[in-house]
C-alpha cells in the first residue's frame, strides 16, 4: 500500500466515509489500493488477491468489515467499462455509482484515457464496495471498481489494458457517457471486447449521424440507450391508454400525434442534468427522446410511409404518415421551459377518429407530476394526476444493464427515428415549404 493517497483517492474516500456510517447501505469493503506508474500485471495480481486481503488485513476498514461479515463467495453478473474524458468526469461516475448503489456490475472499470498527456503511462486505483440489500439485511452486493488513467500511446491501445482485468466469461458492457467518438480506433477496440454498448443518444453532437451509427452497430452488439430508458414511464402510460378494450379500438384510427420536448428559454436558469447527478451535465441533442418516442409508436403501429415534411419554428417539424386507416399528422416541437432538463418530454397528445367523433389521449407533464386524460365519443372522461419523476442516471443505467441483450422494439424505433430525422434534415435544407421526402427514407419498420 502506498503511504500517501492521491487527491482523487482522498476525495473518493471522503465520499465513502460520508455515505458509509456503520451499518448504512454503503461500505468500502477492502482497503483502497492505489499505484501510479503501474502495470497491467500488477493490477491483475492485486485484483486476484482482493477478497483474500479483506479477510487478512488489519486496517480499520477490514476489521469493521469482518464484524459485519464479508461474503466468502461472490456471484458475478457482469463487467462494466466506463470511458470518460477526464478525471473530473471519472469522479462523477464513481460518485454516481456509489451514491446510488449501482446494482448490476461485479467489476466496474472506469477508464480515463488521454493520449496527449505525458507522464506515467498507467495509474490505477482499486476499491471494493458492498451494499446491504435493503430488503434482506444479511445480503450484500459487492462490486470492484478499478479507476485507470491511461496516458500517451497506451491510451490508443485500450483493449490491451482492459481485456486482462475483466472477469472472464461474464458479459461486458461499455458505457460511453457524452458524445462517443464513433469513428475512432479506440472506440472500435472497446466495442470488440464488449457485448453491449450503452450510450445516451441525447448527448450526441450530431443526432442523425449518431443514430445512424447505432443502427449499424446493433448488428455487432447489444445497444442500450439511456434516452430510450427515460421514455419507459411515458411508454407505460401511453400503452395503458389502450389496455382497455374500449379504447384499444382507437389505435388503428390514430390520426394526429403531437410530441413536445423541453428546450431552454434562453433567459432564466437552465436546468442541467447535474441537478440530478448526471455524468454528462449538458444535453446536446434535446430532440432525441421525442423522436425515439415517435419512432416507437410509428413502428409499433406499422405506420409505414410518410409523404410530406414541413419544418416548424425552433427546429421542430411536422410529418405526414400513413397510418392504418388514416393519414397521421405527426408534430415534434420544442417547448421552452426551465422547469425540466432540456430534452425531457413535456407532453404527448394523441388523437383518433371514432365512430361518433374524435378521441383524445393526453399526457401533460409539469415538473414531477403529469395530468393524464382521455376524452372519447361522449364516454367517461378520465382525468388523473400521476407522479412522473425524472429517473436518476444510475437507475437508467441499471435498467439498461439488466435489459435484454437485443431489443427489437428499440431497434425498430431507432430505425424509424432515423427516417424521420433524415426527412426533417432534408426539409430544413429545402426551406419552409413542405416537401415530399426522398423515396430512400420512406420505408419504415425493419
Amino acid at each position: 500500500m502506498p503511504q500517501t493517497r492521491s487527491t482523487a483517492a482522498q476525495r473518493e474516500l471522503a465520499v465513502h466515509r460520508h455515505l458509509m456510517r456503520f451499518g448504512d447501505s454503503e461500505t468500502l469493503a477492502t482497503p483502497m489500493w492505489e499505484q501510479r506508474g503501474t502495470t497491467v500485471a500488477v493490477i491483475e495480481t492485486q485484483l486476484g488477491r482482493l477478497w483474500g486481503a479483506a479477510e487478512s488485513a488489519t486496517t480499520d476498514d477490514a476489521s469493521r468489515l469482518r464484524e459485519t461479515g464479508l461474503p466468502s463467495a461472490r456471484t458475478s453478473v457482469l463487467n462494466l467499462i466506463v470511458t470518460v474524458v477526464d478525471s473530473a468526469t471519472a469522479d462523477r461516475v464513481v460518485h454516481a455509482m456509489m451514491s446510488l448503489g449501482i446494482h448490476h456490475p461485479s467489476r466496474a472499470i472506469v477508464l480515463v484515457a488521454d493520449h496527449l498527456a505525458t507522464g506515467d503511462a498507467l495509474d490505477a486505483r482499486i476499491s471494493t464496495h458492498c451494499h446491504v440489500v435493503p430488503t434482506s439485511p444479511d445480503e450484500r452486493i459487492c462490486y470492484e471498481e478499478v479507476v485507470l488513467t491511461v496516458r500517451g500511446e497506451a491510451a490508443e491501445h485500450l483493449s490491451g489494458v482492459v481485456a486482462p482485468i475483466l472477469i472472464h466469461d461474464l458479459p461486458t458492457s461499455v458505457w460511453w457517457p457524452g458524445d462517443p467518438p464513433f469513428r475512432s480506433p479506440v472506440f472500435d477496440q472497446l466495442i470488440d471486447v464488449s457485448d453491449r454498448l450503452i450510450v445516451d443518444s441525447s448527448d450526441f453532437g450530431d443526432l442523425l449521424a449518431g443514430m445512424r451509427r447505432l443502427t449499424t452497430l446493433r448488428e455487432l452488439l447489444g445497444i442500450g440507450d439511456l434516452a430510450w430508458q427515460r421514455l419507459s414511464g411515458w411508454q407505460e402510460r401511453i400503452a395503458q391508454f389502450f389496455d382497455a378494450p374500449r379504447f384499444r379500438r382507437y389505435l388503428p384510427n390514430l390520426n394526429r400525434m403531437v410530441i413536445r420536448y423541453a428546450a431552454p428559454t434562453g433567459h432564466g436558469r437552465k436546468r442541467r442534468r447535474s441537478d440530478t447527478d448526471a455524468v454528462a451535465p449538458d444535453v446536446a441533442a434535446p430532440m432525441a427522446e421525442a423522436i425515439l418516442l415517435a419512432g416507437w409508436i410509428a413502428s409499433r403501429l406499422d405506420w409505414r410511409r410518410h409523404r410530406t415534411v414541413t419544418p416548424l419554428a425552433d427546429g421542430g417539424f411536422r410529418l405526414e404518415l400513413e397510418g392504418h386507416y388514416e393519414m397521421v399528422d405527426l408534430r415534434i416541437e420544442p417547448e421552452h421551459t426551465d422547469e425540466l432538463v432540456p430534452g425531457e418530454l413535456t407532453s404527448v397528445r394523441l388523437r383518433a377518429r371514432g365512430e361518433t367523433g374524435a378521441a383524445e389521449f393526453i399526457i401533460d407533464r409539469n415538473r414531477d407530476e403529469a395530468t393524464v386524460a382521455t376524452n372519447s365519443d361522449g364516454m367517461t372522461a378520465l382525468l388523473r394526476q400521476i407522479t412522473m419523476e425524472t429517473p436518476r442516471e444510475a437507475e437508467l443505467l441499471s435498467a439498461q444493464l439488466g435489459g435484454r441483450h437485443r431489443d427489437p422494439v428499440y431497434d425498430a424505433a431507432l430505425h424509424a427515428a432515423v427516417v424521420f430525422l433524415a426527412a426533417a434534415r432534408s426539409a430544413e435544407a429545402a426551406g419552409p415549404e413542405p416537401i415530399v421526402a426522398p423515396a430512400a427514407v420512406q420505408e419504415l419498420g425493419g
Binding site: 461472490r74 456471484t75 451494499h131 400503452a239 378494450p245 394526476q385 400521476i386
Partner: protein
Amino acid sequence: MAHATPITLPPVLPEPATVAPGDGARHLANPLREGLRLERIPEPCTMIICGATGDLTQRKLGPALYNLMLGGFLPPEFTVVGFARRDLSDDDFRDHLRNGIDAYSRNRPAKRSIWESFSGGIHYHRGEFHDPASYEAMAKLLDRIDRDRGTAGNRLFYLAVPPVLYPEIVKQLGAAGLSADGERRVDGKRGWVRVIVEKPFGYDLASARKLNREIRESFGEDQIYRIDHYLGKETVQNLAVFRFGNGLFEPIWNRRYIDSVQITVAETVGVEGRGEFYDQTGALRDIVQNHALQLMSMFAMEPPVEFAASDLRDEKLKVLRAVHPMALADVARNTIRGQYVSGWVEGQKMRSYRDEPEVDPESLTETYVAIKLAIDSWRWAGVPFYLRTGKGMPTRVTEIAVQFRRAPLALFARTGASQIDPNILAIRIQPDEGILLRFGAKVPGQGLQIRSVNMDFRYGSSFAVDSPDAYETLLLDAMIGDPSLFTRDDEVERAWEILDPILRAWHEDQGGPLHFYAAGSWGPPAADDMLERDRRAWRRP
C-alpha cells in the same frame, strides 16, 4: 408543394389480434405493450375480497395490491370491494387497508400520491355471508362500479374467510348470478369472473372432493384459482428455469445420478395464536398436503411440452400419480410424527405445544412429520424422497436438497482420505433464496486430504432487485387469467389420496407412536433412525 410521385400502399393490414377470455398471458392484444417492462397488464376489473376485515387482507392482500399499483401493474380502473360482516364505512375500510400497507408492505409507508389514486377505487360492502340480500346488493354495487369506473364486468372474488364458509359463499354467489362469466351470463355482459380459494382445500380426500364439487356447482374449473402461495415464490418458479433453462442439470436429474432427495420446510415458530385451527389440522395437512408435495412435483416433473398452465399442471399431476399411496401397514415404517415440548429456539424459551392457548392439553396433533415417499416412474424409481416439516425447529428454512451418488471408486482411500462425501445440490426457497453446490476439493499442501466445499449462489447478492411478494405474483396472474401457478382440482385430490392412508393409520393408531421432541431441535430421534435404516442422514440446513 413539390412534384408528388405516386406511392404504393402497404399490403392490407392484419386484423387486430383478438384475445380469448382467460388466455391473456400469452397474447399481446395491445401492440404498444410489446417489449415493455409490463407486457402483461390485466384488463380493468373489480376484486371483491370476502372476509375483508381479516388478517390476510391486512397483512397480505392490501400490501400486494398496493405494490402492484405502485409498480404500475394495475390499470387505473382497478377497483376493490371489501365484503364482510363488520359495520364499516368506505373510509374505515380504506384506513384498515392503509394501516396494513404502512405496517407490512415491502414498500412502506404508503406514498401519498399513489395511495390517493388507489384509495379512490376502494369500497366497502357490509353484509352477512349467508344472506341472499347482501349478494343482491353487492351485484347492484358491482354493476354501478362497472358503469362508473369502466371495469367492464370483470370480477375477481377472493375468499379470505375460514374454509367452513367457502361452500356457503360460492353457493350464494351462484344464486345471485355473480359467478357466471362470458357468454354464460344472463345480463348480456361478457366480462370474466374468477374466484381465488385459499388453502386448506379440505381436510381429507372426501372433504376435498366435496368442496371441489360444491365450488363447481357455481364456478367452472377454469374460473377457480386455488392459491398456494409457495408457488408464487421466485425460487419455485426458478426451479423450472434452473432445470429446463440450463443444459447441465437435466441430464443428471434422474435415478442414475441422484441418490436421494430431501425436502425440508422448517419453521422456528410455534402455532402463533392459531392454536385452535392448528390443533385440528397438524403438520401433514398444513404443509405436506400443499407446499411440500407441490415442491416435490415441481422438482420431479418431466419437461412440459410448453411452459403453459395446462401442460405444467399435467406434468405435476403425473408425478403425484406416480406416488403410490402407502398401505396401512407401511405407514409406521415410512412416517414419523412428532410434537414439540418446551425448549429453546433462537435464544428464546418456547413452551410445549400442549401449553399453547386453544390447544387440547392432551393433544395428539403432530407439529412435525417426516415421510419417505417413492415416485414410481422411469426417472425416479428407487430414489427415495424424504419430506419433513416441523414447528419449533432450530432455523427457519425451506429447501430441496439433492444428494448425488458417490464416486464409484474410493480412489483416494490409500492416501488417508477415506470415503468422500457425496455431492449435494441444495435449492433454497427461503430465506436467502439461492442454490448451493457441495463438492470435494483437495486441501492445499503435501498429501492428499479432501474436504467438502460449498459453492454458493444467492439471488440477493446477484440481482439486487426487490423480488415481488408471492401474493403480488399470484394476484396479478389471476387477474390476467394465467392459472399456471395455481393448483388444479385433480392435483389437490391426488395429494389427498397420497396422504389419506397416513391420516387413517395415525387415526387408527397403527401408524407408529407420536414422538416428542424439544423445541429447538431437528425433530424426534426416530426421524433420524428412519434415515439411518437407509444408511442416510438428514441434512442440517
